[in-house]
Amino acid sequence: MKEQLTTSRRGFLKLTGIAGGGLMLGFNLTGCDTLPENPDFRDLEINAFILINGDGTVTIKAKNPDIGQGVKTSLPMILAEELDIPWKMVTVEQAELDSRLGSQFAGGSTGVKTNYENLRKAGAAVRDVIVRAAADQWGVQPLDCKTEDGFVTHGSKRLHYGHLAEAAAQLELNEDPPLKDPKTFNIIGKSRPDVDLKKIVTGEALYGIDQEIDGMVYATVLKPQVFGSKLANIEDSEAKAVPGVIDIFEISQGDNPGNGLGGVAIVAENQWAAFKAKGLVKAEWNSPKGFISSNERLRRALDRGASSKGTVLKDEGNVGNAFRNSDEVIEAKYHVPFISHSQMEPMNFIADVQKDKVLLIGPTQTPGSAAASASNITGVPREQVQMKFTRIGGGFGRRLLNDYANEAVLISQKVERPVKLVWTREADFLADYYRPAGAYHFKAALTGKNLEAMEVNICTTSRYLYRQSTPAHGTEAFPDQQPAGMIPNFKVTYSPLKSNIPVGALRTPGVNATTYAYQGFMDELAEKVGMDPIEFQLGLIGTEDKDMPYEDHGGPTYNTVRLRNVIELVREKANWGGGKSQGFAAQMIFGSYVACIVDASLVDGKVKVDKVNVAVDCGRVINPIGANAQVQGGITDAISAALYESLELRDGAPIGQNFDRYEKLRITDSPEVDVHFVASEESPQGLGEPSYPILFPALTNAVYQVTGQRIRELPLKKHNLV
């Protein structure tokens, strides 16, 4: 590696992997303008993202973890587009944690949005040096050269990229390379199947749980029945008698649940022995003081919180006056339960802690944090922690936290061997970081058909109570959420509720709850004033082209015309008002605009979702087939949560500890979902999350049309519907 080159440039465009002093090549590039019969060019890394192979094909590094959101395909598509190489000549490889690649992270629907411009430049910079290398050889101007089908051409001369890599690697990378006119895109905007498709359908070892390293032992962790309990006593003689069991011991990550919940580690020569022994460990636990014993107690505590004087997050106009002087005041209380991530691949991680280095392999949405955390635990310098992340069998926010990776590190450290930790599904439910439960109390003032005032008092079990530095309301209440700024008097307050239930981020954290409550209440108000729900909301949004302030994720503003457009599109596509039982909701979510109409019916007292239409404006779509899948997936996931999902407690312990008692949506309940994208040249936004929240209110509003019952508390299966 030529160090002077890597240090002379800034940012991601570093030329990092070029040949050093030992470069010896047995061929002459000069004048070589045809493809040799047996090309013998070296594979060369031109920048950290792109390896030009000797045969002219390219290998592109997938920088971010793929949790099913498709970035292992879509981000390399962006690079390949500007590199101007046919997609069929591209092989995608998963990158390791590598500081040259920038932030490597899966969360907040940010993968495409935050990498789009950078990856375009990184791809274009490599195309640019390849073209300059060709121009140098031919003694012509780079601007007179073209790239097509993986070749650089000038008149009748043509060379594939593999010919030129060696020469290109000697040139300075252009920090501001010319970018393509988007009108000429031929990869971005065209559907490409997942790059791992063949491996997935043939069962290749792709996931964290499939990995192995030499000499490793297997572990699992026993978790207490009541969240937050501390180990009091352990009787493990029977467990230790299971053939293959190596050791059993307590692990702890301290008192902050945000770091990890601790438990009893069982280490064995094989996974089954560890699982079997776990069932034989007799552990006594001390339950935490004031633990939440039942859902009824939880609900009362949330309502008390929402009724208390909370932190005022927004106070526009004078809601008090408006409530006193209006024709009518409407009140409603909405509630959401704790829900589980229940990602299909159980929690797992491999750690090999040695005296002076650590190897980590596994599925994490935050590989950088996993590596930093391993360094903290072991005292091994961060540079000596190698982190290989894998394709991930579902994230949904659960794998933003690295509690399980830390456990693997602690166990490897204790047994002084490489360890593969795999949790049982039961452990996953006993130590999930659930979507916070919340209460949302609404009050609105109506005069004639006018919404004069609205007040929202929110109480949730905020995950930010685990942090000193962030206020508890962060990602729990969204004071700029519509109809903020659309009505003269508007107030939002927030009160956190401390609880022993561990909480974390789940697909559109916070927004998945507030969207349900706000858009449900808006539907109630539309009915009160005798208006069509779509017309009512369009009336508030107005016809002016305005950028509304939005200080939370997806901001700093959102545009009223883009919101109106998705509403009008879904209204048309779903044949709104065509005599069916339909519910509507729309909002800007994490930078994308979504509007949804659900058709529902009641079959034997059970809600059936017959059809879902969603209109989406996410800016430019990178990979249409993947984008469509993300929107469908978000909707389907939300149907599962809306119909069935809730952490139900008995004496503080979850009743559902596996898929027998924690019900998930099955294929028989999965409706047709039609996704309609607004054609857009706006900058691309993420899609892993935005469709998820919008389904909840669209569905419950449809259920109201079917049954006349307002569903102000999820899930639907708790309601007797007729």
């Binding site: 498709l197 997935i200 043939t202 094989n270 579902g394 389907t636």
Partner: protein, 152 residues
């Protein structure tokens, strides 16, 4: 621990394992066949689906000692070149998102098509009810099974 000779994907494989070890863990950890996935351990999610004499079974529920002379087929043995009509249809429809459940989904669907090469929409749904897809690819699964059935 005992020794078992088990017929997997047309070959007889010899393994050492405790009698109660589920086939899932024998496949994954003793035979290094990672396509069969652990999802729930109680036969509720279908991620570990394999064939026992052509029928779909949950390998987490079958102890190694119960396999005997029966033939086991796993995703690795469904086709020689990864081109079973279902695998082809899965590719055509770009079914997976995270992909973790999909080997189980394909094995489950393959057992259905073994018995019924022309299933109705309702028969597809009924036969697939036991396989959870957490990402919500159900509609593409239905479409891919329909496409594969048309090829048979």
């Amino acid at each position: 621990m005992a020794s078992y000779n088990i017929k997997i994907n047309g070959q007889t494989r010899s393994v050492e394992a405790g009698a109660d070890t589920p086939m899932l863990w024998v496949l994954r950890d003793e035979l290094d066949m990672k396509g069969t996935k652990f999802g729930c351990g109680i036969g509720q999610c279908g991620a570990c689906t394999v064939h026992l004499n052509g029928n779909a079974v949950r390998s987490c529920q079958i102890p190694v000692s119960a396999v005997g002379e029966n033939d086991i087929t796993t995703i690795e043995g469904l086709s020689e070149k990864g081109d079973h009509p279902l695998q082809e249809a899965w590719k055509q429809h770009d079914v997976p998102q995270c992909g973790y459940c999909q080997a189980g989904q394909i094995m489950n669907a393959a057992a259905l098509l073994n018995k019924n090469s022309n299933p109705s929409y309702q028969e597809i749904e009924d036969a697939t009810h036991g396989n959870i897809c957490r990402c919500g690819t159900y509609n593409k699964i239905k479409a891919a099974i329909t496409t594969a059935a048309e090829q048979l």
